[in-house]
Symmetry: C2
Subunit: 335 residues, 2 copies
DNA sequence: TTGTACGCGTTATCAC
DNA sequence: GTGATAACGCGTACAA
């Protein structure tokens, strides 16, 4: 805040009214006479007065912001979700604060603290830590939280997600039906809920076809982005050759995998089918468009914001699960 | 803010000390005895106390946030810039608030108001409106502002950008050297500074080769994203056929153009060379990788944040201009 | 070293 | 319909 901040006192003086009246013009225009109202409004315009949210929050306790913690702001999936959130918040004139945890626990709790300190109305979060540790106290204190892509069994928190198990199952079933009895899954750490669930779905699909647990090879990805996917794929390629079917925990990782395969020479969608997850826009028009499990991104965000604003402390929590859809593209061609 | 907020008073009571002491533990730990300090710290942990920034800001006037207004949060260029900003802010323990104007004036000024009301330390903005109207009062009031990709002649504001004219000039020169004497430019509204500058650079390149003003056809893009590019390209394709060289104001638009050309059938990089701007990661591994003018994205953000934090009111403004670099790819093949 | 009192900008309550 | 004033939670002199 700069030193010469314009306050409501300045406005009152400029308009030759009391602070109370000036405040009334802002908050209950009905109770103030037409002419005085105009005087005050002119003063506001002239001075460029913008009411301090800090003071307003302090006094009234009504927050005007909502915080969102995303796993990776550079992943279009999350920015599309954010767009859905923002749209819904706009209906109730809330604003959105965004933080990207980059799947780092410390970053996540830093943003959590920051948002609480800012006095947000609530937090929508994609968490790195399935245990929910950083959220327990927050929720006990009565802060509104809605989880994205996750849920905590032992905490009263609403959640919005797709059925990851079903999505992964459809993805891997598709690979098996192409004739593969081995699947390589590029996956992130299991403490991230979606990673664990998508792995379970993949295993389930293999089991459904009578394939044992060793028909799935898991390759760990350090970061859930294209760089992470590329590095993991490079590591895998050092020790493996020949046909292999790939399932990636998300599309960014799939893009990295595809890049690594291409650079390694002789990438063929027939020998190396790839299925990703999220169906972010860019996978559709790559050199070889990637088959992916589509999430209703915008709705995810919209619904999460809706839950946050309409559910209040004490009310029962709600868990919304959308059904994902496998979108088949050239990255998974029949042999 | 929820009803049962934990305040410093609760902490003091829990630790059996006075509020002043509790406050001192937070802000000047040196002056308080080791044992009392630990008592207070335990109480803070136990209650999960998070100091209200609202109150702190109100009292001390030291903001802890910086706001960034981006043209489009779904464009990787801007999220990469945001990453650069955030990195630099972290060094001084500031946090970043992000708003996406989507090139809409009203959204831009809404965020401007919001950030000021939040009491941010300053604002880094990519503006939609080259006139700088919404910034004048803000700056007069002493709010710190750094512009991204733009600058206002008549306002004392620092700025960080690349040399757009030089970048566009290199792009179009490249097209001319491929043998084209006509260039189609997919461009946004000229009130967006980069659009105007890149157009000027394109014109300059043509003039350098003795080509007149009608050697450039400008096609207006409604939104500076792939959808906007695709729609503009469709409109153009309705009335035009055959070889044409394209320069796009940014990569997202170029992606849309490429999509439209592909769908229209018979897209050939030889007959339809395309150059984009920004060099966002995804253009490099599309079916036909797109030649693009590279911006030092991360540095742009880093430098902007640095300027914001180190330049203070009254000091002279600074204008940082980076040199862009043309990265040639398969979308511009020699005939 | 610790406790107390005041002020930051706003809103709400109450007289006028 | 309007004006004065207390209160929100915290930081900081200054007094103890």
């Amino acid at each position: 805040m700069q030193s010469n901040r314009v306050t409501i006192v300045d406005v009152a003086r400029e308009a030759h009214v009391s602070v109370g009246t000036a405040s009334n013009v802002l908050n209950r225009p009905q109770v103030v006479a037409e002419s005085t109202r105009r005087k005050v409004e002119r003063a506001i315009d002239k001075l460029g007065f913008v009411p301090s949210r800090a003071a307003r929050l302090l006094r009234s306790g009504n927050p005007t912001c909502v915080g969102a913690i995303l796993l990776d702001i550079r992943n279009p999936f999350y920015t599309d979700v954010a767009r859905g959130i923002e749209e819904r918040l706009g209906q109730d004139t809330y604003s959105l604060l965004i933080g990207s945890s980059d799947s780092v626990r410390e970053r996540e709790s830093r943003y959590l603290k920051l948002f609480e300190a800012q006095g947000v109305a609530g937090i929508i979060a994609a968490t790195v830590d399935g245990s929910g540790k950083p959220y327990r106290q927050l929720i006990e204190r009565g802060l509104n939280v809605v989880l994205l892509e996750s849920s905590f069994e032992d905490l009263p928190v609403s959640s919005v997600r797709v059925n990851n198990t079903a999505g992964a199952q459809a993805a891997v079933r598709h690979l098996v039906e192409l004739g593969f009895d081995q699947v390589v899954m590029l996956n992130g750490p299991h403490r991230i809920r979606q990673c664990a669930e998508r792995l379970a779905g993949a295993r389930q699909a293999l089991a459904d076809h009578g394939l044992g647990p060793d028909s799935l090879t898991e390759v760990q990805v350090d970061q859930l982005n294209s760089m992470g996917g590329e590095q993991a794929a490079r590591r895998w390629l050092e020790n493996n050759r020949g046909p292999a079917a790939f399932f990636c925990v998300n599309d960014m990782v799939a893009i990295g995998l595809q890049r690594a395969l291409t650079y390694s020479g002789g990438y063929s969608p027939v020998c190396n089918p790839i299925v990703g997850f999220d169906d972010i826009g860019v996978v559709a028009d790559r050199a070889v468009p990637i088959t992916s499990v589509r999430q209703p991104t915008y709705e995810l965000g919209h619904r999460a914001a809706d839950l946050l604003l309409t559910t209040h402390a004490g009310q029962p929590t709600e868990h919304v699960t959308f059904v994902p859809e496998l979108v088949i593209r050239a990255s998974t061609l029949p042999r």
